[in-house]
Each structure stands twice: as structure tokens, then as C-alpha cells.
Symmetry: C2
């Protein structure tokens, strides 16, 4: 298998399409924009688009397709959202019913796809600045947690903010806050530093999604809004049908972090 | 009449509600966020929300209401979009049919309101930096033009980019570009400097909306994406019913330019 760490976004998509990549994408295609995926039927699309507009920290929109169109032309022309992710989740009535590696057999003409920014995008910038990213160094998926912070409701969608976590010593935290603040479309600056209980997280070693990582003495957890937030909202709103990416198994676009840098 | 130039956003809204302000808002409530307004029936709302998502330079979304709710709770709690603007435009089938000062009699339970950023927001920051804003100094509305630059289509919506124009000498242009780039939700950095014909503008002294302004020798026009762009798209898409603000007659929010500053 080729080394995808310094590949282009299109190379990662091709590896997914060929069945060569079926796992998490942290550290892959360094500098390219990773993205979350949410697919809902047209009659749920306005509510979900509104949920994203009202919750831009967890749901920064990069692209939205026309109903039935699997190609997000704005961020990855020529790609196919039905095959180009490592792993998907299929939802019926808010319940997870399948985790396939492609979704061609589930495709329908009324499906609207939402491509949402992901914090994996800024990890290359952190590493370039000499700030270690623990889950990449430990070769696992990022840990993600449901919090007690409510999202702003929109139509039938509501639910808690989901966050990703990376541990740092204090000086790294300050640098990471400054650097990631430049990328609002990749969730931007963090939302919390320190005590997990303050945002409703009971056990920092038991993430709700992804894998636990080591937190060394002197380090504290730094939390960013996460694009898995819609999956918590889907479980509560219970639309009859929906598809998402599997947490950590992102869609790679043709955009680079420089395209998102506001500074 | 009270001097609204250094009033709060809420004061300008109250002056509109009381019928004391029925004209353009440049220079009013300095430092507060001015906003464009587009109101469409629910069955056109997904297409319009998508149009905004795909065209964030002219259509940076600040808030979207639930159907029938005239209060944009995210940006101006307690306000009423039916009375709190100086002047409105009512559209039927893409035709302008009325320009009232309030829209209570037109209100319906299926109307969704879109509050969109406006370049008047960054004019206080320009003036603070010593950069003169011609239409404010000449006490007229900003000049706005339809260009030959197409927007990215979305559902039934398509049309040309509309721009606002402010004339500057070269050094001012550079400063104005840097300052306004900090406010992407107020249209951000300009899209063109110099030759109007290059973006399809035939006569810089004959704006399609607003008023002409003096361009002194040595000055050139600097153009920003404008929130009147949706009005050009409404005229082409011809929804059965829509309401907008009258160009230049903006909705004042409770947000300040500091809330939008990305630097």
C-alpha cells in the first residue's frame, strides 16, 4: 500500500474507491482539507442546512450538493461521495444500521450531501509549528466526546456539541489556539481547555467516538468543536434515512489548509 | 430627530419602527453590524439558503429565522423584521410591486427570513483608520452595480454578482483591502479595483442601485461583493412572493464589527 501521508487529497479518495483504505484519516494527505459528510433526504435538507448555519463552530459548511448529485463540485470536482470515503454509517430512524465501505446500493435521487470542515485539516500546521499531535504520534483515531453544551436548535434538529480532544502543555495550548483560530472552516479556535467535567465529560479515557490517547503529567486536554456533532443530532431527530462518514474516516477534498487560512 | 450616527443598532431599529427613519443607513450606528434582508416562502427557502452557502462573498449569512418567526434571535433579540427597517421591497413573480416602510400586512406563517452581512459594517473601521468614505461624506446612498460575474447557481437561483463601489487613491485602496479583509461576514476583501468595464460596468456614474458619487482625479473605484445580489437573483428566479430591504436601507443588528473581526 502506498504511503498516503504526503499524498494529495485525490490520492486518498482513489485509495478509498479501490478499497485500499477503510480506516481513519488523521495524518493522511498532510495540508489537504479533510471533511465530515452528512447525507439526508431533500425534505430534511432545509432543517439540516439551517442547523449548520446556526452552529458554524461544529458545522462549518464547505459544500452542499444538489439533490441526487454525489459530486461536491465546489471542493472536489470529479469525486464521488458514494465511494470516496474509507467507511460510512447508514442510519434509519436515528439508529445505526450499517457501516459499509461504499454506499452505491443506498443511493437515491432525493439525497442532499453536506461536506463539513474537519479539525484534521489544521493538524499539519500544528506539526509544522513543532506542536505534537498525540493521536497521530500514537497512530490511532482522535478521541471525541459528547458534551453538555447544547447546539442552537434548527427545525427538527437539536443536540449536544461533540468535541475532539488533543492534550498539550500550557505553552503548546497557547500556540495551538492561535494557529487553529486561523482556520474557522476547520472548526477554528478551541472551545475549552482543562477540566473535562466542566463541559460534561465524565472520563477522558473513555471517548464516545474514536480512540483514547495518552495524557502525560503536566498536560491538559484542549477541546475543539467537532463535525461528529450532526451524528448526535441525527440520533435525536430520527430522520427515516441518513448516511454519514464513520467518525475519523473523512472525505479528502482538493482544497488545502491555505485555502481556509483567514490570516 | 435624534442623531443616529453614534446610536446603537437598537436605536436605529426603534427609529424605523416609529416611522422616523425611512432612508438609507450608511454612517448610522457606527460600529454596529448592518444587514441585508431577504424573505422567501418556506418552499423556496432551501434553494435560497443553498445560494447563500455557495456565494458567501455576496451572501454571508448572519441569521436565518424559523418559518413565520419575524425575530432574528441570533443577531437582534427582541427585534421585529416586519417594522425595524427603514424601507422594504415587495416582489411578486420577480417584479417589484411595492416599497412600503413596514410589511405587517404582507406577513405570512410560511415566510423564512435571511439576515445577510453588509459592507456598511466596515465603514466605521475605514473612517477610524483615516480612510474617507465618499458616499458618507456626500451624504448619499452607496453606488451599487450589476456585474458580468456569475454567481454559483443553487436550485432555482442564479444571477450576476452585484457590487458596491467606493473610490480611493492607490494607498487608500491597499489599506482598505487589508482592513475590510478582516470582516468576511461583511463581504470581506474587495473583488476588483480599477476598470469598471472589466467586470461589465458600462458607466460608473450610472449605478443600478443607490446614488452616484464623485470620483476625483487620481482616484479609482474599488468594488466589494454586495448583499443586493439576491435581489438580482430574485428578479430572475421569479418566486411567487418575496420581500427584501430597499437597497441601502439596512437592518441594524445588536452585533458590532468587533464580533465579525477575524483578526
Amino acid at each position: 500500500m502506498i504511503d498516503l501521508r504526503h499524498a494529495a487529497g485525490a490520492d486518498v479518495r482513489l485509495a478509498c474507491r479501490n478499497g485500499e483504505l477503510t480506516g481513519p484519516t488523521p495524518g493522511l494527505a498532510a495540508g489537504f482539507v479533510h471533511a465530515n459528510l452528512v447525507i439526508v433526504p431533500k425534505d430534511w435538507a432545509f432543517d439540516f442546512l439551517l442547523f449548520c448555519q446556526r452552529n458554524p463552530k461544529p458545522c462549518p459548511l464547505l459544500d452542499v450538493t444538489e439533490p441526487g448529485d454525489p459530486e461536491p463540485r465546489g471542493v472536489a470536482p470529479g469525486s464521488d461521495l458514494r465511494t470516496d470515503l474509507p467507511m460510512y454509517r447508514v442510519w434509519r430512524g436515528g439508529e445505526l444500521v450499517d457501516e459499509p465501505t461504499e454506499i452505491a446500493k443506498y443511493w437515491r435521487g432525493d439525497l442532499v450531501s453536506f461536506v463539513i470542515g474537519c479539525s484534521f485539516t489544521f493538524e499539519a500546521a500544528l506539526q509544522t509549528a513543532g506542536i505534537p499531535v498525540r493521536h497521530i504520534d500514537e497512530n490511532v483515531n482522535v478521541p471525541m466526546f459528547r458534551t453538555n453544551i447544547p447546539c442552537r436548535p434548527a427545525g427538527r434538529f437539536h443536540g449536544p456539541l461533540v468535541v475532539s480532544m488533543r492534550p498539550f502543555v500550557s505553552a503548546q495550548m497557547i500556540q495551538a489556539t492561535r494557529i487553529t483560530g486561523r482556520y474557522p472552516l476547520a472548526h477554528g479556535a478551541p472551545i475549552h481547555f482543562g477540566d473535562p467535567a466542566a463541559i460534561g465529560i465524565a472520563d477522558i479515557q473513555k471517548p464516545d467516538y474514536g480512540d483514547p490517547v495518552t495524557i502525560h503529567p503536566g498536560e491538559q486536554p484542549l477541546f475543539w468543536a467537532c463535525g461528529v456533532t450532526p451524528q448526535a443530532a441525527l440520533a435525536l431527530a430520527k430522520p427515516p434515512f441518513a448516511i454519514t462518514h464513520k467518525p475519523g474516516c473523512m472525505f479528502l477534498t482538493d482544497m488545502t489548509d491555505g485555502d481556509l487560512d483567514v490570516v
